[in-house]
């Protein structure tokens, strides 16, 4: 690996690291920061990328020290070298990081603000800290891994939209806030800790897994989809008990979650669930699976 300040050749795989120099006084619109926008740019071009700080248009270089390093060849699915982007620092005031990213890898060593990974279509986004609200909102593909907690509305739909997350995977190691996966239509969200109220609100499809304690009214207004509660919680009266059984797809999902870094004890794979159908107010084709026993 060699350090370079002027790597502009697209054929050379690089790792670009942005070190936070100063915390902005107000929230920053940072959708310009993702692996695709920094690929094939030299240090100066990256520093010139725009950032809206409040109502003032500023530069990435005003807040970050940029390092560009050549690395071992690392190619994504499209076989075109793409920069690996690292961000270091407390980015709680930076909104829309990784917004709409479609490929590549982004690692954030610190906490991030709201809308991180929203509209993401592919690639991997790892957050080694806390995530703000609207994490992965309207996400369509790729993977978000939060090694901490996430705020409200992870994987949810923005106000006025019928459909939230439509694909991909969000894994939150600790807790999640309210309205987790609200109106999601596809994809998987797994929460290692507790989650807030209204998890899976208005779900049309997809899967939400909560390992810790669920909040109130999980699955309210869900039409289809699956909420898996690994700890029992109070369910709405519009969910009807069907049976106790071991759905096979859980074994596949268990394997997938393990592979993606969501820690579950080995005996959880053999688990039985109580199945509840609901929300009866919306046709009742959704389901909540509540962990029943470890066989």
């Amino acid at each position: 690996m060699k350090a370079s300040s002027d790597v502009g050749d697209e054929s050379v795989p690089v790792r670009i690291t942005l070190f936070l120099k100063q915390t902005p006084p107000v929230p920053v619109e940072a959708e310009s920061i993702n692996p695709e926008s920094v690929t094939a740019k030299d240090r100066r071009e990256i520093e010139d990328l725009p950032l809206w700080v409040g109502n003032s248009k500023e530069r990435v270089g005003d807040y970050f020290r940029v390092e560009v390093e050549e690395t071992e060849a690392q190619q994504d699915d499209d076989n075109a070298p793409l920069a690996t982007l690292h961000l270091v620092g407390d980015l709680s005031r930076f909104k829309r990081l990784g917004w709409g990213m479609s490929r590549g890898e982004m690692l954030i060593r610190g906490s991030v603000g709201p809308h991180t990974g929203a509209f993401m279509r592919g690639g991997t986004l790892v957050i080694q800290g806390q995530a703000g609200d609207w994490l992965g909102a309207h996400m369509q593909g790729g993977k978000i891994l939060v090694q901490g907690s996430a705020g409200n509305f992870a994987g949810a739909a923005y106000r006025g939209y019928k459909t939230g997350m439509q694909g991909g995977t969000i894994i939150i190691r600790d807790d999640a806030g309210q309205m987790l996966g609200a109106r999601m239509r596809r994809g998987v969200i797994a929460v290692g800790g507790n989650c807030g109220d209204f998890a899976g609100f208005g779900m049309a499809a997809g899967t939400v897994v909560v390992r810790g304690a669920p909040g109130l009214r999980a699955g309210a207004q869900m039409r289809r989809g699956t909420i898996i509660l690994l700890q029992p919680g109070e369910l709405l009266p519009t969910f009807y008990y069907d049976c106790t059984y071991g759905p096979l797809f859980w074994r596949l999902l268990y394997n997938y979650l393990q592979q993606e870094g969501f820690a579950l004890p080995p005996d959880y794979r053999e688990m039985s669930f109580k199945r509840f159908s609901g929300d009866a107010n919306e046709g009742g084709k959704g389901e909540i699976l509540v962990c029943q026993s470890l066989n």
Binding site: G167, C243, F249, N255, K285
Partner: protein, 301 residues
């Protein structure tokens, strides 16, 4: 060429391109996975009369749900036939078996070929059995259908991969007695079972009624292999039986790749060269019809 005192005739097996699919059947234990696999691959000896050639390949290379599994191979002459056969056989044999589930088995070791010949929507059509209560899950990029059944749920993958394979690899065991031919055939089958990517579609892996193309009867596409029938040695227009041969058995091999078929023939022929076997031959059509030729002496070297 002689192997263990057995003459290896200077001839070749002629095989054809067929479409192949691997179906992985899992169940709560090997017993029920076996029930499902045997039912799904039943009555699938010859494309001529069954519409498909199928068999059990062996224990599953990869069991997506972690339960005991069995890999089955299916071969047809067209993609349309494959879809029809898989729909019928998975729907009637696997879905009906308690605890069974069904996955596309070609996924784990696929990638050797550039593109699959097709991806057939099998679970995607069987789902309608759920009468509107079916649901799907996309896990790791693959869609699985959950069909409610009286026991719980039948889980089946939406798409099954179809590749171009090889059908009709074969060799003939020419023996002094029927008992010697059977012993040699059983030894060959036992040896071939260790080879992955192939099946022996006939009962016990052995055929006694090998066929020739055509018949004196217009309504029949194939008829008994006159040249290898010991009872016709004296009256047939042409016999291929060396002196002293009183029984012939055939081993037919279908495989996902020509290499797998050749390997199966190699180990099978070697195992079949036992006492009482006079020669090993193979069925062909002069090399004019089949794309894949397997010269016996060459594959044994």
């Amino acid at each position: 060429m002689r192997l263990n005192g057995v003459t290896i005739e200077d001839t070749f097996a002629e095989a054809f391109t067929m479409y192949g699919a691997r179906v992985t059947v899992t169940a709560v234990n090997e017993k029920w996975a076996g029930h499902a696999a045997r039912a799904a691959t039943g009555f699938a000896t010859s494309i001529i009369g069954c519409g498909v050639e199928a068999g059990i390949e062996g224990p599953a290379l990869s069991s997506p749900d972690g339960r005991p599994g069995i890999d089955c191979l299916f071969f047809t002459t067209s993609k349309e036939d494959m879809e029809k056969q898989l729909l019928n056989r998975i729907g009637q044999a696997v879905m009906t078996t308690p605890t069974a589930a069904c996955y596309d088995g070609l996924v784990p070791d696929y990638g050797r070929q550039e593109q699959p010949a097709a991806r057939l929507k099998i679970g995607g059509k069987l789902r309608f059995f759920g009468d509107g209560y079916q649901s799907s899950k996309v896990i790791d990029g693959r869609r699985f259908w959950r069909i409610p059944v009286m026991e719980g749920e039948f889980l089946v993958q939406e798409e099954f991969t179809v590749v171009k394979g090889v059908g009709g690899g074969n060799f003939l065991i020419l023996a002094e007695t029927a008992a010697a031919a059977l012993a040699a055939a059983e030894a060959a089958v036992e040896a071939i079972h260790a080879v992955r990517g192939v099946i022996l579609p006939f009962p016990g892996g052995v055929v006694r009624s090998g066929s020739q193309v055509g018949s004196r009867y217009k309504f029949l596409k194939a008829s008994t292999n006159v040249a290898f029938c010991p009872t016709l040695r004296g009256i047939a227009a042409q016999t291929m039986l060396p002196p002293g041969v009183n029984a012939v058995l055939e081993i037919v091999i279908d495989g996902l790749t020509p290499e797998a078929v050749a390997e199966a023939m190699r180990v099978g022929i070697r195992a079949a060269c036992l006492e009482g076997v006079r020669g090993i031959s193979a069925g062909n059509y002069g090399g004019r019809l089949g794309k894949h030729l397997f010269p016996l002496r060459q594959i044994l070297q």
